[in-house]
Subunit: 221 residues, 8 copies
């Protein structure tokens, strides 16, 4: 497993990351870390590797676009001295193009999206051991759907930047593509975005698959 | 316009019809009639034809399948002595097949759906001047989507019965099919089912199109 | 239809415009745009002309007089770069003269009212394509009623200024005068001011009548 | 002053009588007796005639028509063994004719209204020392207003029955007719029905004027 | 009646004056003026003398001692440009001596009380037409009770200052002394301080008795 | 100390006993036993005699007169198989005579009070080891006060019955008589009835004084 | 994996099973299934084996002892026609012996506990494919602690019955014994009973370990 | 008894001291002083020594570590001019080491704890008559428990400093050690930290045992 004792992971994102976490960032007691995939990652790390203390910090805020996240990236990510950084942003960048089409300034278009990501990446300190790029997604199997097609552009940007910088990449869009071949998207999310706990579990598993996480791990006695 | 002074229309349905209406039925003062297409139909009738008093009763209850509606059809529709009856049911019959697939008794499959509709139709008194069948729908343009494909079966049953009995038929599925060619479904409903006020307006217009409703009507002085 | 793609209309006003809109201005998702005639105008534009994106912004605040609106006109209207401006103000200017007669500073008398309107008009940028003056009103058919008589003075000022500047003028007082010949004012508003959804629909229709709005419009395919 | 020590007055009525009183009837501690003219009558009796204990019971329920009041008249008035009975009903009988014109069964028309009153009167026990008929009203000075004109019919029925049976009659319609010559109805009630505390005071004074109430009374020491 | 058209009376005080009034001062629509004797004074003035517009402003704040009132006297009284000023303060000055005896700084002792009153009086502008001193009180008939005995000292100071400056003096202590000979204090207030509506009525009557108020006044037509 | 391991004491009473206890009876976890003297008795027993398990059940209900308590005495006391019974009732029997003097049926006069107590006593099973009569009280040092004088009659009845049956008697009236010579009643209760936690402590101490309770007791190790 | 398509598992239990599930039983949409280990089991089954539909029903109710569960076992378990039954009960049976020691009838002692379990087992229909006994526990590593020692008796009874009937046995006590060697119990639960999400995850993993659950399972395409 | 008339005691601490007290400090009327041992100390002082006015101020804030308390010690303790100071801090310093082990900066380790206490002690003015150090505690009888063992280090620091400066020392750890030999910790607190009212009573008694408090004290008449 890639995390060391007392490593800190900061998960930046939007409502998919947030899910009732404390604001602006949440961790520790009670439900401060929220109910998203972040919570499930922490649960699994603590349940399977109790001998390794991993500090999990949720820096998701609902409704954020990449523009919003960039504006608070220093305060909510960099200043926290993370050992690992995870970024999952872009859904609202795309969604606003379709649900409030008369207000184009609510949306973030691909060119700016890529720039925003680049600016965030540039802010990440050298001391960080690893970065995760978690793709945005739309649980729409039909690639012809205009919002899905647009989302694919953002997923591609994520993948391009992850490759460019050697970051770990988690493709949530591909995850849901596969899953929805078996169960309909409405099983996970009526709105095809906000996952229920099954969806959050799927996302946590995909994340942990990038972390050499071993479900059969047992503490050496 | 087809309605006469003091005609009563009862709109039976599920959450798409209900939208915060009084329970089990709502009409008259305050927001008793709810915020769905029913409210907008009443608004348009009262605004354009103030000289004709049409009593609009909302008998929608959120979450209902055709099985639920059948169970209360006598109390909530027949006993109210309607002059016109509108039925819009079936979305939950289908949805439960996909969002809770392990609980098949929550869903209503096509054969039972048709029987339920037939039983309701048989209960409608002779005195009723006209019946509207409003199709269920899923704002999914991709006809290959399994839930959309399944919904189309229910729409076809609606159309078949409307034809069989000479009822007015409003095809909400076709309505959204057309609209979503121009604006993405997320503009109307994130979950592709529960419409915002624009969607409710679209549905009210489609209903009124079956009623010889004239937007340019003016009261004779 | 007079609006072009991506035009922005800002509706300034009091509670009749506001009706639960986000404060100080509301637009876009959820119920931010409120439940007044503004919402219904947006519904109709989006339902009938989906190919034209019109940005509708509600800048109404309950209880405002023209003095209050003037004080925030720069922030809530001018700074938003509207293409079209709608002003519906004056009811509270008059009402306070009658419901709190011992506190004359709560009211705005005709001379100041006209000045306030003039000052707002002077602030509207040249770039604005058109201005709507929506008259205040009191749903009181009896022109001898002292509050109705006073309101008529304000309506006349609105009309005078609309004529002077070539603005579109919507006469809500005349609208209700006509409607109340058929249905009693208590059908629309117990207090003869705050309209229910039928009243809001009447007002939206009167507004759209000034916009070359065609209810039979169909999108060219 | 006409009331004797330990007399009980029961005030039957609708929301104008009720105004937050305990349901179905209220009296005694806290705000059980509500905030209407009933409360002010009790205040004045207790303040000016503390040596006389008058039991004041509020049996008003908001929204009641004469039909509703008749249905509960035995339980809420007769069974309480009143020494004096006050009836103030009819506003909703009329209002529903105008605010929900498509639902005529919500309203009570003059013939039934008179019958309902007659039936209530017939139920009043012989032991009752006196009965007050308090007229319904609409704070509309214009007698041509259709709702005002209709209300006048109900006022006339009240007066007729009061004369027929020798009951004390309080003409609230005349009271507001006079008052609104000086202050506009919106000073008392935006909706011309539900009075503020000034209106409740006016009504209490009109009631006490029928009771040989002496504001200058002083307790003999 | 001593008040002229458009006179403004500002009532300064503690919870006995406040009783849910808007903070820091309340007047006009809704329940802004609270539910204390101030509300009843306004009701009586408006009901009996509708042709005279008297502006009634409630500047009471619950829990205030004379020290607290002095600290806000400029903002809440002087700056409002009153024509008449009423001061009713001192109950908390005394009460804190007995209910929190270990915290002497919560209380205000007689010497400071008199100074506080003198300072407030000195701040009242020359333009004020008249000042009312309303005595504090404790509804305790037993003059030997230590809190009653202490309260009598404050009442005496009020009377002394009213005499010194020629102000109108309303002796609430004497009022309740008399009333409680007939009805027990628990009829008015379980805590012998916060009056119910009967108590508020008693206090309003005592105030109006200083104003040449004529209950039989009728508007000249 | 008189209580044995697993003895159960049921405290019957009104709001003075109740103080937010679970309804109709409360004991055990959380705040079920309320915040009155009952809670403090339980605290002291458990803190000082942890080796003795005493079950403390609060059967107080706010507003009860002896008539109300008698009506539920079987359900709330007898059926619980108490080993010890405590009865503290009568304050409301008296209070209603003074705070709602026009409604004499709300009160319970001395003759009935005594009968009610006798009836409750007759219902107490033989198996009960001991009975406590806790007197009602009014924290009014002035014995001339009419409510205090009346309360003394009820206290005398309590004492008489306690003597007659050999019950333990706790004289709360005497307790407060003494205490109020040092601190004013408003330190304990503004309304002279509902004690704060200091008052509850005083009452618990007076109760325990009847129980051979030793504050210096230490568990034998 | 042992479950087949459309198998139904009913989880009976107390607050540890319940954790905000719908009452009396919860399953399906929203958070009906609660937030306990039951939710996590469902998440894992659905995430890893989406091709197998397993119906997961939460029949836990907070505060239940085995006596309470037995009383509703027919309604909440047997009547639901489960394919698999899981029983996790006993914590409150023990806890009440220690947190409310004076009320022994709140607790269930070992003999009755065993009988209650036997009675429930006898009610399970033959058609059930398998039964899980999940042991109660107290996260107290010190086996000398009296509550831990007592709990061990109940765990032993569970194990004995599981062996006797050939049921699957999950030893939560052993699970926490091991885990608390590494992290202190306060990391999972301040009260050593109600687990946070990490604890719920540990319990779900222990359950799934009895189900041939393969974390590396992939759907065959 | 060691306290003199008008002495003020300020109790600094965390949630164990706070228990719903007013923030940041609470005293006097209503429940401002909270529901902890502080309230019970005040109750006992006022009940047994009413002739001595002791001002009891609760300066506890839930969740505080010694680091948090030090940061506000000047504002919440020193500035209040106490005659006596009580400090009860450290539970959260320890707890965070175990319930959020991955976030070491939430905890305060022994060295810093001692320094924090020393800094607070240095801030206490010379005028203070006496200081109480109340030890932190964990109601865990097993001294091998890692959190209990760690807590013992903090208790030892408290004792060391109390000895060094001649302060009164109350050993809550020893108190619960003894008590839990008779009743299980879950009788006082499920989480072994936050006491119920019995626990608060135990703590108050231990405090008063340091104050020459005589339960049998009677006021000299």
């Amino acid at each position: 497993m890639i995390f060391n004792d007392y490593d800190r992971i900061v998960f930046a994102g939007d409502s998919v990351t947030d899910m009732e976490s404390a604001q602006p960032v949440g961790e520790g007691l009670f439900d401060n870390v929220g109910r998203s995939y972040v919570r499930i990652i922490e649960n699994m790390l603590s349940a399977v590797y109790p001998e390794v203390h991993v500090r999990v910090t949720n820096a998701g805020i609902g409704g954020n676009t990449s523009r919003d996240l960039l504006a608070r990236f220093d305060r909510d990510v960099v200043q926290l001295n993370p050992d690992w950084v995870s970024i999952c942003i872009g859904i609202n960048d795309v969604w606003r193009q379709f649900d409030t089409p008369a207000m184009p300034d609510y949306a973030v278009f691909p060119e700016e999206y890529e720039q925003n990501l680049e600016k965030m990446i540039a802010m990440i300190p050298q001391s960080v051991k690893g970065v995760f790029i978690l793709s945005p997604y739309y649980m729409e199997p039909n690639r012809e759907d205009v919002m899905r097609a647009r989302m694919d552009e953002y997923v591609a940007i994520c993948k391009k930047l992850a490759d460019k910088y050697g970051f770990r990449f988690v493709d949530f869009q591909a995850l849901y593509e596969d899953y929805c071949k078996i169960r309909h998207s409405s099983y996970i999310a009526w709105d095809r975005v906000h996952p229920n706990q099954v969806g959050a579990t799927l996302m946590a598993r995909a994340f942990l698959a990038q972390c050499d996480f071993d479900y059969a791990h047992e503490v050496q006695k």
